[in-house]
């Protein structure tokens, strides 16, 4: 016969505590979401979604921020999903059990998942913007300098063939050249150290202009922020896709190989189509994560105010999360912006929660289908 227990106080407490803890967490979540909905939803309106911010961010809408966030996330997905899917394919299909390469990849993926998001921003700054962007700019600039040199040697140039002229004369020549670009370079001579009456030759002119590389790609912009975020969300994609690739039964792969397909053909025509939902889930999770991260884009491309969305890959952009941060911490008029803050939060939170919910539903759909 089992011993009967005296219901001790400790026991009662111990059994209640887990429920209390769960209730506490759930209540907090509901309180937060409720607070946002109640305070923010009344301020949502069609114009909120389609107007740009006005009056130093104290009124207006968030349209450019929406466009910026969407553009950012789209580019990020284009970069992250293919790379993540292929890595997952390698890990599930090609890697031998316990090969050190596969283990290292998994370790690298786990490390990437744990790196603080602001470090990604620093990497984006140091690698994408300065190294890659800077190199692109340097190459293009060198090309333009070659052309500049040729221009300086063209007929009519005051410094052609080794002649010497004043800076002002060179400027006059460049302005008259009917090339907007050289007129732009001409204005740089206004800052020439010895003044515009100084005498120079073609060599000096070229050297002076060469030292002021124009930054087009080597500055914070949409493309680099998107690539930085892609790196940050790569682990999410890899883990999701790997999970879904593993749900494809081995028998299907084996049947395909037995019918004469090569390994890659099997993957391309059998495995991937069967795990598309999983790839989709991974993409959605990545989007949800990327849309909310602000730290990596702080110095890789976001700005706090613009009238319209980014138009080119090298433009800077507004962002929902960053907009919220600015509104909350650097607003000149707190009372006026409070409704804006809450409304922006509702949009941002709504977006990420909707994405996460979709991913969760997709995932349980996959699992139910697999169990069937």
């Amino acid at each position: 016969m089992m011993k009967e227990h005296r219901k001790s106080l400790v026991g009662l407490l111990a059994l209640r505590l887990p429920l209390l803890a769960t209730a506490a967490i759930l209540l907090t979540i509901f309180a937060i979401v409720g607070n946002f909905l109640v305070t923010g939803v009344p301020h949502l309106s069609w114009s909120f979604f389609t107007d740009p911010p006005t009056h130093a961010n104290t009124e207006g809408g968030i349209y450019p921020a929406i466009v910026g966030t969407v553009a950012l996330v789209l580019l990020m997905t284009l970069a992250a999903v293919p790379v993540g899917t292929i890595t997952a394919i390698y890990l599930t299909e090609y890697a031998r059990q316990n090969s050190w390469f596969a283990r290292t990849i998994r370790f690298a993926v786990n490390t990437l998942a744990g790196v603080p998001s602001v470090v990604f921003g620093l990497f984006g700054l140091g690698f994408f913007i300065q190294t890659i962007g800077g190199q692109i700019d340097q190459v293009r600039w060198n090309q333009r300098m070659t052309q500049f040199e040729q221009t300086l040697q063209a007929g009519g140039s005051p410094v052609a063939h080794g002649r010497i002229a004043t800076v002002a004369q060179v400027q006059e020549f460049l302005n008259a050249y009917q090339d907007d670009d050289w007129s732009e370079q001409a204005t740089k001579f206004n800052a020439f150290p010895r003044g515009t009456v100084a005498r120079i030759n073609a060599d000096i002119a070229k050297r002076y202009i060469s030292n002021s590389v124009e930054l087009v790609w080597g500055k914070p912009s949409l493309i680099w922020a998107a690539l930085t975020l892609a790196l940050l969300t790569l682990p999410v994609v890899i883990v999701s896709v790997e999970e879904s690739l593993r749900t494809v039964p081995r028998e299907i792969r084996e049947a395909s190989l037995a019918l004469g397909a090569t390994k890659w053909e099997t993957i391309r025509k059998v495995v991937i189509p069967n795990s598309l939902t999983g790839i989709l889930t991974g993409s959605i999770l990545a989007i949800g994560r990327g849309a909310g991260e602000v730290a990596p884009i702080l110095f890789t491309g976001v700005i706090y105010s613009s009238q319209e969305g980014p138009k080119a890959l090298t433009d800077q952009f507004m962002h929902l999360g960053y907009h919220l941060y600015i509104l909350a911490t650097q607003s000149p008029d707190v009372d006026a912006t409070r409704p804006l803050q809450y409304a922006t939060t509702v949009v941002l939170l709504g977006l990420t929660l909707a994405l996460n919910l979709t991913a969760i539903l997709l995932r349980s759909y996959i699992r139910r289908k697999q169990a069937a």
């Binding site: 400790v10 111990a14 890595t87 490390t111 921003g121 005498r199 004469g260 919220l324 911490t329």
Partner: protein
């Protein structure tokens, strides 16, 4: 010979061909798709596999790249500022044979990006007494052009923007430790207890509702959590606990806890569910009560997973930027009062990076902080991997 016994119907029967030396010719006419054995097909497949291999290696490559490029920007602190002068000297733009112009006035035009030699500026006659008054007794007097040495970091005050900058990181370190500690103190018990509930005590349907809701918390962008702390939680804390400054380490810790709870909860829940039910039944069978079985048998059995969960939560809390930026008050105070405003590493980087000049000592220092954060998360990941592996191996061996 009967037709249906012939394995390859398209081949003529063997007798008609007779001699064995013709066999190989016929084997080559077997119905294998000829394209499969084409060399170009095999080469194509190899190329694709190589491509997949290369792309898979990208993760590893990028880890190295992250470390290399963030360290590169911080390297001058360790290896001395040897960058060549960016300034083009005046005589670069002078025609040969012409007299050099008078020096100083025009040099401002080519502002050096950074790192002109320190001797030059210190000779510019800094008012030592006034500087001492600002900087204090034990810190070297620096200017914005002085290169940063590693030793400058081991002090209390972080004031990189003042006229005589101070680069001491103790206050930031303490701030980070305080907020992380508070976050873990709040989040760990709550998450583990909640995981215990959903893993054991909750009815199945309730578990399927509760678990996704808590995991939804993981989907909250950290800006939003920071916002909530800034707006609502700070007010609540101040009215209930009466703190002097509204934004402080405690409020930041609460925010970080909100971010960390889903992490610890999910992993602990999974670990608890992974323990075989027979262990629990055995505990109950020898007479333990429900709670004894849960707390004294199951929870200890899930220790590796719980440890990993806490480590991951620690890593997240340590490096979290937006919550710290918005909720901690951003003032570098020292001391262990939980209600002082603090500064964390990540918040420092996030707040100041946008305004530093490229290549300046401040810029290098911020990258150094980034390198520290990276190394910290790397070590945590390493520990998690090896600790878990060891524990699990030992468990399966039965020791």
């Amino acid at each position: 010979m009967q037709d249906q016994q012939r394995p390859y119907p398209d081949l003529p029967p063997m007798q008609e061909q007779g001699a064995p030396e013709n066999t190989s010719k016929h084997l080559s006419r077997l119905e294998i798709r000829p394209s499969l054995t084409e060399r170009s097909r095999r080469v194509g497949e190899r190329i694709i596999e190589g491509g997949i291999f290369a792309i898979a290696a990208l993760s590893i490559i990028f880890i190295f790249l992250i470390f290399f490029f963030t360290f590169r920007e911080a390297a001058p602190i360790f290896f001395g500022d040897n960058r060549s002068e960016q300034t083009a000297a005046i005589d670069d733009y002078t025609l040969p044979g012409e007299p050099l112009p008078a020096a100083t006035g025009n040099q401002e035009v080519h502002t050096p990006e950074s790192g002109s030699s320190p001797g030059e500026t210190q000779a510019k006659g800094i008012d030592t007494a006034a500087a001492r008054a600002i900087v204090g007794d034990d810190y070297p007097i620096l200017t914005h052009e002085s290169p940063v040495r590693l030793g400058y970091l081991f002090y209390k005050t972080w004031q990189p923007n003042s006229e005589h900058p101070r680069y001491g990181i103790y206050s930031i370190l303490i701030g980070t430790l305080k907020t992380t500690l508070i976050a873990l103190l709040i989040a760990t018990p709550l998450s583990i207890l909640a995981a215990l509930y959903t893993a054991y005590f909750a009815p199945k349907r309730l578990r399927e509702i509760i678990k996704p809701i808590i995991e939804l918390l993981a989907g909250f962008p950290s800006v939003v959590i920071g916002f909530i702390c800034l707006m609502t939680i700070a007010t609540i804390v101040q009215s209930v606990l009466g703190a002097e400054s509204r934004l402080n380490a405690f409020v930041g810790g609460i925010g970080l806890a909100l971010a960390v709870i889903p992490i610890i909860y999910t992993i602990t829940d999974d670990s608890l569910r992974a323990i075989p039910g027979s262990l629990r039944e055995a505990a109950l069978a020898v007479g333990a009560s429900e709670w004894q079985a849960a707390y004294q048998v199951m929870l200890p059995a899930a220790t590796p997973g719980i440890f990993a969960a806490i480590l991951l939560g620690l890593g997240r809390a340590f490096g979290e930027t937006m919550i710290a930026l918005m909720a901690t008050g951003n003032a570098g105070t020292v001391g262990w009062n939980f209600f002082d405003p603090v500064r964390t590493f990540a918040a420092t980087i996030g707040a100041e990076m946008g305004e530093v000049q490229h290549g300046s000592p401040h810029y290098q220092l911020l990258f150094l902080l980034g390198v520290l954060l990276f190394i910290f998360s790397f070590v945590i990941n390493l520990v998690t991997e090896f600790y878990i592996k060891q524990r699990l191996i030992r468990r399966f061996r039965g020791t």
